[in-house]
């Protein structure tokens, strides 16, 4: 589906109703929700504003943030899907050539626990679509995000000017607060998706007394008075004199008072226990203004995390497009409808410098178990990763690594790729394999996606095939969206022939000239694993091994002669 169509399709139904004041500019959910500990964050911001901290207000709040209700368990797939690596390498935000450091763990948490409510998915898809279709809105979100980053940096790090002039630092923080609010209020007026919540939030704050006081204070700081000067310049180009044409004091500003009153203000503060200085007067005013506006700053933390999710998704799309690999927001259907993933690619390959070969995967329904067969190094495991990531991103409401797709939401994902042998492993390879199967059924809800790589490869084929068949038959009872790779080719061929397991489908790696894998997949079961090809490619033929033996023998004999002489 073309992106513009998606925008028009997705924006309208998810447009939030903003009749009530928007207290939280939550961009992730149709009904705004607090996901960070507001009270704790409020206190942390107040402390950081007062004295500066060494960082962590934002990251700690986002790390502890909750997510929308989700039936997905990250432990079931995150490691096998290399999710942390995917987020770190693929979700990059580039603004004006700069790449800010994202709160990766927060993003991983958001992706690993996709919302169970389809309305939330639609809400996010609408925002993503609108951002992708409107460069202006994307620019505004980037501007908002950049300002939030500057706000975070200044708030958390009392260095440079702030180290020596607390008032200046706090005023600079307040300038950024105003900039965030103004950008939110004025930059998203045309938004139709959930982004319009930003405008509603900004306008609500702008109409409040704390914002007016904030604006007045900043104006007072910048323009207590305006002098019009006439400058006389001599023949040598040097300034010879000034003449004041007019002095205009901003008398309407509520913070402006007479010099005498300001002096008495300083004296009053001294008597009250403060320092006798202009800086102390300004500090009291800043304190009062911040006290009024600080409740509105708490959502900034959550907003920064939200913005990172969308900008990261857009960054992933940019990365893929730059490699000639289009991405899309998939169409979402039911499990009974056909699945299609056109131009599916593995983004992990892309970020590791290998240009992936897109492939098309289609099945007549989602609720099926697909056995994938094919030669070694034919792209089966990469395919499983791609399918898992595509499902995950689709569930999160974001772009998936495919040109176009039709997917069904799943209540969970259990993924098991071949595990490396660990030193603390209690069981042998077969035992470990069986434990995987046990854990799979312990976690697996009905209708979930299951991705298994080389099931039962750790034992002899005849016994392994029995367990394999058992697993497949039991899986069908849960109507999963299952993808399983195997090298039990004869067994798979028998299952295809017999057709006695419901909803069992078969995909095989397509081979090209000289039986080279094309990294495409077609229906059916592979007839060979092409182990000889792999052995030849890796130097494990009879002739190659004999050659190595002869070389080693000659070298040993030569060494023995040398030691005797």
């Amino acid at each position: 589906m073309i992106l513009q169509d998606l925008v028009s399709t997705l924006s309208a139904p998810s447009r939030p109703v903003v009749s009530e004041p928007v207290l939280v500019p939550d961009l992730l959910h149709p009904v705004p929700m607090w996901r960070i500990d507001a009270e704790h964050t409020r206190l942390a911001i107040a402390l950081a504003f007062a004295a500066g901290v060494s960082g962590g207000v934002f990251s700690e709040a986002l790390d502890r943030a909750t997510v929308a209700p989700s039936t997905w368990e990250p432990a079931s797939f995150a490691n096998d899907l290399f999710l942390q690596q995917f987020v770190t390498l693929c979700f990059k935000v580039t603004i004006d050539g700069q790449q800010p450091v994202l709160a990766t763990s927060h993003l991983v948490k958001l992706l690993a626990q996709p919302p169970s409510d389809p309305a939330t998915v639609m809400h996010r898809r609408a925002i993503v679509a609108e951002l992708a279709g409107s460069p202006e809105l994307r620019q505004q979100l980037e501007k908002l995000y950049t300002t939030l980053c500057r706000f975070r940096t200044l708030l958390e790090g009392a260095t440079g000017t702030g180290k020596f002039d607390a008032n200046r630092r706090q005023l600079d923080v307040l300038v950024l607060v105003k900039e965030v609010i103004d950008t939110a209020a004025e930059g998203f007026l045309t938004a139709r998706s959930g982004l319009s919540r930003l405008a509603a939030f900004g306008r609500r704050v702008q109409e409040s007394e704390p914002y007016r006081s904030l604006a007045d204070l900043l104006r007072y700081d910048e323009r207590l008075a305006t002098l019009s000067l006439k400058v006389r310049v001599g023949a040598d180009g040097r300034i010879r004199g000034f003449e004041i044409l007019s002095i205009h004091e901003d008398e309407k500003n509520p913070f402006v008072s007479s010099p005498l009153r300001r002096w008495f203000g300083k004296l009053e503060l001294y008597i009250r226990g403060f320092k006798f200085s202009d800086g102390e007067v300004m500090a009291r005013l800043i304190d009062a203004v911040f006290e009024g506006i600080q409740d509105e700053l708490v959502p900034f933390v959550q907003l920064l995390g939200d913005a990172e999710l969308y900008l990261g998704a857009l960054g992933f799309a940019d990365l893929a497009r730059a490699a000639g690999l289009p991405v899309c927001l998939p169409e979402l259907g039911s499990a009974d409808e056909p699945r299609s993933l056109m131009g599916l690619f593995n983004p992990l390959l892309l970020v590791h410098g290998v240009k992936p070969v897109p492939c098309d995967i289609t099945t007549d329904r989602h609720a099926s178990t697909v056995l994938v067969t094919g030669p070694n190094s034919g792209g089966k495991t990469r395919l499983l990763q791609s399918i898992g990531l595509a499902q995950l991103l689709a569930q999160a409401g974001l772009f998936i690594p495919a040109r176009s797709a039709s997917l069904a939401l799943a209540p969970g994902l259990v993924m098991s790729l071949i595990e490396e042998t660990r030193a603390d492993q209690a069981e042998g390879r077969l035992g470990t394999e069986l434990l995987r199967i046990r854990e799979l059924f312990e976690r697996l809800p009905p209708g979930a996606m299951v991705i298994l790589d080389e099931l039962c490869s750790g034992t002899n084929p005849s016994e392994g095939e029995e367990i394999f068949e058992l697993v497949v038959r039991m899986l069908t009872r849960l109507a999963p969206q299952a993808f399983i790779t195997t090298h039990f080719l004869q067994f798979a061929a028998r299952l295809e022939r017999e057709q006695n397991i419901d909803d069992l489908r078969f995909l095989q790696v397509e081979l090209g000239l000289e039986h080279r894998p094309t990294y495409q997949f077609k229906p059916g079961v592979a007839s060979t694993s092409l182990a000889a090809h792999a052995a030849s490619r890796l130097g494990v033929t009879r002739d190659q091994l004999l050659s190595l033996i002869d070389r080693n023998t000659l070298q040993a004999q030569a060494k023995a002669r040398g030691s005797r002489t």
């Binding site: 004295a51 007394e209 006081s213 509520p254 008495f264 203000g265 503060l269 006290e291």
Partner: protein, 328 residues
């Protein structure tokens, strides 16, 4: 309104927050450990204390300044009162005396006895007029500065007394009584020469009546400086200076250098020429100019060591009187 930091144009909510901020009701992180009320109390005490100290300092300074002005005014009043009785001409007495003395210290122009001194007892009567007296080496009269140095060491002596009270003869026994009186000094000598003041009195005292000294008083800002001026004034012989300023004649004796021949007595007396002059200060006319040689060889050995100078001087005075008498 409870704080000067708020204005009438402020939103009430903002004003309340500012009041809360300055009143310390909202304790900030990293704020002072002492309670704001306690700090305020201490600071009020500090402000009052500083104000009292400031007031005391200002008062003390003002009092000191007034005291200075009082001292200054008293000094100026004293000087002005003393100077009021002097005419401008009298204030220039030293100048006139110096001018005449410098002339007399040049080449000797020969003996002179003015007609006014040629009458019977005319010299004695003239010397009885208000007078100033100075004696010193001839070279000390070359300029006013050296004259001041000579005047500082010049006192009433046997020459002056014998001029005022001329002896009957130049016999040692006759002269010795007067010489002893002169040597004794004190009130006896003062009483017998009461019309004569030392030139030194005028030199020391008259500058205090000059505008420059009053200017110093006016310019003084330091009490110590004024005290120093006060001391200077108190030590100055103002009455004697005024008398000296009113002197009508100047009596001077200029000791010429010795030619080197003959012995020098124990008291320094030796054979040398002495110029004795009497000048009318009102007209600057020389009334008497006479040069005599003195030589202590005529003095008895018993008196020479002690009275050689005095006897020579007294003998000189006798000879001057005799010469004036002979000039009739």
């Amino acid at each position: 309104m409870s704080t000067f930091l708020t204005t009438s144009r402020m939103d009430p909510a903002l004003a309340r927050r500012i009041e809360a901020s300055v009143s310390g009701r909202k304790r900030k992180a990293g704020g002072p450990l002492l309670s704001p009320r306690l700090v305020a109390l201490v600071r009020v005490g500090l402000v009052v204390g500083l104000a009292f100290l400031g007031y005391s300092a200002v008062s003390a300074r003002r009092g000191a300044k007034q005291e200075i002005e009082r001292t200054r005014a008293a000094l100026l009043a004293t000087v002005q009162a003393q100077a009021a009785s002097l005419t401008p001409e009298e204030r220039s007495a030293v100048l006139r005396a110096d001018s005449s003395l410098v002339k007399l210290a040049g080449n000797y122009e020969g003996d002179l006895v003015a007609p006014a001194l040629r009458g019977t007892d005319a010299l004695k009567k003239t010397l009885a007029r208000p007078a100033m007296y100075v004696r010193g080496p001839l070279g000390a009269f070359a300029n006013p500065a050296r004259i001041a140095e000579a005047a500082a060491t010049s006192a009433k002596d046997s020459l002056l007394l014998c001029l005022m009270e001329p002896p009957a003869s130049k016999v040692e026994k006759v002269l010795l009584g007067t010489v002893r009186t002169a040597y004794t000094g004190g009130t006896v000598l003062e009483d017998r020469t009461s019309n004569v003041r030392r030139l030194q009195d005028a030199i020391v005292g008259l500058p205090l009546f000059a505008p420059a000294w009053s200017d110093r008083v006016r310019a003084a800002e330091d009490p110590a400086e004024l005290a120093k001026l006060r001391k200077e004034l108190d030590r100055a012989p103002l009455d004697r200076a005024k008398k000296a300023a009113r002197a009508e004649i100047l009596i001077a004796a200029l000791d010429e250098p010795s030619d080197g021949g003959g012995p020098t007595e124990i008291d320094g007396e030796r054979a040398h020429g002495i110029r004795v002059v009497v000048i009318d200060l009102t007209s600057s006319a020389v009334l008497l100019r006479m040069r005599k040689l003195v030589d202590p060889t005529w003095i008895s050995l018993a008196k020479k060591s002690e009275y050689a100078s005095g006897l020579d001087s007294c003998g000189l005075a006798f000879e001057v009187h005799e010469s004036v008498r002979a000039a009739k």
